[in-house]
Amino acid sequence: MPQTGLDQGTGNVAAAATHTGAPTIDALGQFVLAPVPFIGSAVNFTQSNLLMVIGSAMVLWLLYAGSKPRAVVPGRLQAAAELSYDFIYRMAVDQIGPEGKRYFPFIFTLFFFVLMGNLLGLVPFSFTYTSHIAVTAALAVLVIVIVTVVALIEHGWHFFSYFFPAGAPKFLAPLIIPIEVISYLSRPVSLSIRLFANMVAGHVMFAVFATFVVMMGSAGVLGIAAAIGPLLVNVVLMGFELLVAALQAYVFAILTCIYLHDAVHLH
């Protein structure tokens, strides 16, 4: 009796082992932070921070190497640097007005930090630091604090008239002011959730379809033939995610511009 019990036990363990050995869909494991080896664990320097450093260094390098040649007819690197400068400069001036020049460095930094986070996250074995709400929320809070401070400096106490549109009937003030204040405070929330949700959704889809490939591939010849489907989906998805990465960085930057426009002009 004990012998059979033992057999059954080992059989169960073996079955459990094969069960866990088979690929299961683990879509969220890719977002786990891990300290970088050798230097990371003492100061909680994770792969997310490492990617931030790499991304920032790449932008700095692009601007440095791009502005070094000073050619009249720019080469590829110089053209890239000039295009990125021009693109953000025009965005700032178009959206904010002539005052936008002052905020250009801020918007440029923000756009390229987010863009690098989104793009570097698409490199295999890399990590998307914009997929953490802590990062995007910190950026959004930075934006909203700067916007509010700019508005207070530009307009002083007059800034608070922003929460009550001119011409509205006075007796509606107790209704309009809380709604406007909530609307104003919801900006950082929507700003951070939009970026974070887009990045998480894209990478979860990558993980799910990649797991499909492995699961179907382990199911015999027919499965391998069928696994081409999700593989193709992932290839298409990569192109789509490149679009989303650039688009979300653009949305983040242009919304910052619109908020700065509101702060500078009040409406």
Binding site: I179, I182, S183, S186, S190, N198
Partner: protein, 57 residues
């Protein structure tokens, strides 16, 4: 996606404010109910600003 985020984030902020006020003043359902209504209105306002006609200026 954008519209949904705008709508929900206003509500999230409003509920946080309402619940915080209630927690502070010990009037639990009162401000929460008020702020849910105001938050819904603020969400609609956000969406209106997003998809509505551009403001004249």
């Amino acid at each position: 996606m954008r519209v949904g985020v705008e709508l929900v984030s206003a509500l999230v902020v409003a509920v946080a404010i309402g619940w915080g006020l209630d927690h502070w003043l010990h009037t639990l359902p009162l401000f929460l109910i008020i702020s849910v209504v105001l938050g819904g209105a603020a969400g609609v306002l956000n969406v209106w600003r997003l998809v509505g006609p551009a403001p004249r200026s």
